[in-house]
Structures are given as structure tokens and as C-alpha cells.
């Protein structure tokens, strides 16, 4: 049946999980284009016959082939466009330099598209004011909150801690930035002495 190969391309992408880029199916694409060429040529000859020989019974077949051609084109463009979207996502995830494994899955033209996209994005980011602009591919997550949880590492004093009690933190406090993991906050704070476990406003 017509358009089977085109549907196979779509199914292949549909099966691949979000964010993954399967290898470029050059063979599949070539077969779809060949089918389209064959359909078109058949239609051309039939159209000539219908016109000159008065063969109006060929018209339904012509229409059917034309629909198949449109479908093939639609599936092909959808396949290519979806791949572009996945490749675009790679820029935001991996940065400007892609891992080799992914590069092998890309066609040469896709690589070219990727490089053009990278360049376009870089120009835009540089234009955002200041000397170097703003790299909006960083700061993908909101920074940690100002409050950190402090854990008890020493003995707990018998007095109940009130919310207004003063705590003397005799240590170097390093507030977590966006790149630090939450687990390190309590280690880094290195709070010693009797404190109770609660949220501290630093």
C-alpha cells in the first residue's frame, strides 16, 4: 500500500522517547522520495491519456495517487520537523558541543541547521545588554531558598528553644547557590553546639 514507508518513519519517531534522537533514517527517506517520484510519473502519463484519449475513468486513480503524494509529503515533513525540534532541545540540554553519540545520529544537513541555530541564539543572547549579554541557557532552575535546614550534631539542651532565642553560629556560613545540591548545605554550614532542628532565617 502507498505511504507505508512514510508511516514507518513517523512510527519510528513516535516510538523513541521524548528527548531521544534516533539515527537519521536516510534509507527510509530515500524510499519515500522514490515512491513519490513513481506516483508522480504514473499520474503524469495518466493525465495525458485522460486529456487526449478522453479516458475519464482514470480520474479517480489520478486523484488517489495525488492524495498519496500529499500524504507522503506531510509525513516526511513531519518526520524532519520533529527531528529538528529534538535537535533544538539538545542545544538547551547539552550546550554548544554535542556528545559524539548524538552527532552520529544526525544527518549533515541537520548538523548545519544546528550550527545555524546555535549562531542565531548566540547573537540574540549577546544582544541582551551589557558587554556580554545574558546567557539564558543557564539559570534553568530557580535558586535555592534563603532558608536552610540545620541539623543537630551536638547534644540538645534541656531548655526549650523559643522562636526568638538567639543562636550564635560560630562557623563560616556558605549559602547555597543555584549550583549546590541541597545535601551539601547542612554539611557546609558545619553548625556545632546545641541547636534545635528548625528553619533558620539567616
Amino acid at each position: 500500500m502507498f505511504c507505508e514507508k512514510a508511516m514507518e518513519l513517523i512510527r519510528e519517531l513516535h516510538r523513541a522517547p521524548e528527548g531521544q534522537l534516533p539515527a537519521f533514517n536516510e534509507d527510509g527517506l530515500r524510499q519515500v522520495l522514490e515512491e513519490m517520484k513513481a506516483l508522480y510519473e504514473q499520474n503524469q502519463s495518466d493525465v495525458n491519456e485522460a486529456k487526449s484519449g478522453g479516458r475519464s475513468d482514470l480520474i479517480p486513480t489520478i486523484k488517489f495517487r495525488h492524495c498519496s503524494l500529499l500524504r507522503n509529503r506531510r509525513c516526511t515533513v513531519a518526520y524532519l520537523y520533529d527531528r529538528l525540534l529534538r535537535i533544538r532541545a539538545l542545544r538547551w540540554e547539552y550546550g554548544s558541543v554535542l556528545p559524539n553519540a548524538l552527532r552520529f545520529h544526525m544527518a549533515a544537513e541537520e548538523m548545519e541547521w544546528f550550527n545555524n541555530y546555535k549562531r542565531s541564539l548566540a547573537t540574540y543572547m549577546r544582544s541582551l545588554g551589557g558587554d556580554e549579554g545574558l546567557d539564558i541557557t543557564q539559570d534553568m532552575k530557580p535558586p535555592k531558598s534563603l532558608y536552610i535546614e540545620a541539623g543537630c550534631s551536638g547534644a540538645i539542651s534541656a531548655q526549650p528553644a523559643t522562636s526568638t532565642s538567639q543562636v550564635h553560629l560560630n562557623c563560616n556560613l556558605h549559602l547555597p547557590g543555584s549550583s549546590d545540591s541541597p545535601a551539601s548545605a547542612s554539611q557546609v554550614a558545619g553548625i556545632t553546639g546545641p541547636v534545635s532542628k528548625r528553619l533558620w532565617r539567616i
Binding site: L69, Y81, G129, L175
Partner: protein, 192 residues
Amino acid sequence: MTEEVDFLGQDSDGGSEEVVLTPAELIERLEQAWMNEKFAPELLESKPEIVECVMEQLEHMEENLRRAKREDLKVSIHQMEMERIRYVLSSYLRCRLMKIEKFFPHVLEKEKTRPEGEPSSLSPEELAFAREFMANTESYLKNVALKHMPPNLQKVDLFRAVPKPDLDSYVFLRVRERQENILVEPDTDEQR
């Protein structure tokens, strides 16, 4: 925003209108624009003056931090503040870029057919980016597939092929000031 940090040129101007904002008001405006952009299905009006002013403030803050003495706590707090602002600004710009990429033919068409007095939904840099994106994608599709196809099928109308933003999707809105006599018609959608 703390008052301890010395701002050079404290008031930021809103371009041609010469609106004088305190830094706190500027950040509030940024956050408002950010939330609106996130919740709206289509690309909203561009706010280049807010972006510019916020970038300026970030630069000032960075400079002040560099000049400040090594008091760990203060410096850390200000640094966190900077990171927060930078996150909001980045997120806002990312959201806009994502919409531009998603609806690129419609965004460009809207810009082309925009009447004279209406403010643009694209900053000049965003417009350049959108145009490059369109040219890049079109030439890619042509080279990989379309030029090998039968002659009558080689043109793909991206304006028809790429879906439009769904303006009928639901949005959340919050009333900021008390209003009397509101008429909510079924076919107007209010986004502010």
C-alpha cells in the same frame, strides 16, 4: 531588594515615557511580565525597556559586590538576590523565545501586517532571531526533502502547516484593583 546596596542612577526610565521606577517597582514589573508571559498562550507585547533596566541593575549590583568588603553574609545574600533576578529574567526571555520558535510563521506574519501605531510583540533582536529561524528551517526542509519531490509539491506553506497558538485555551487571571461594573462578554478574553 535591600537599601544597603548603593545604586548608581537609582531610578530607571521607561524609554520615551520617562517613568521613574524604584528598583523594587522594576522587579515587580519584571515578575508581572514574566507571569503574564508564562500563562498566556500567545506571544505578548515585548518589553525591551524592562529587560534593559533589569540588565543595568544586575550590572550595578555586580559592580557593587565586587567593591564591597569580604563580609560573607551580606555578599552571599546579595548574590542570591542577583541569582533570583537573573533567573526570573532568563525564564521570561526563554518563554518568549520558545513561543517564537513554536509559532514562527504566525509571529512573523503578525509583525508584517502590524498597523503603524501598534506596539510590536517582538523586540528587534527577537525579530532577527525569528527571521533567521524561519530561513534556516525552510532551507533545511528544501535541501533534505522538498527539492527531491515532484515539482508541484515542492512548496510547503509553513503558515498553514505550523499550528497557531490556541487563543481559546483557559488562562488564570487575578484582579489587581477593585473594579465596578465589569461586563464579561463570552467572546472577549482578558489576559490582565
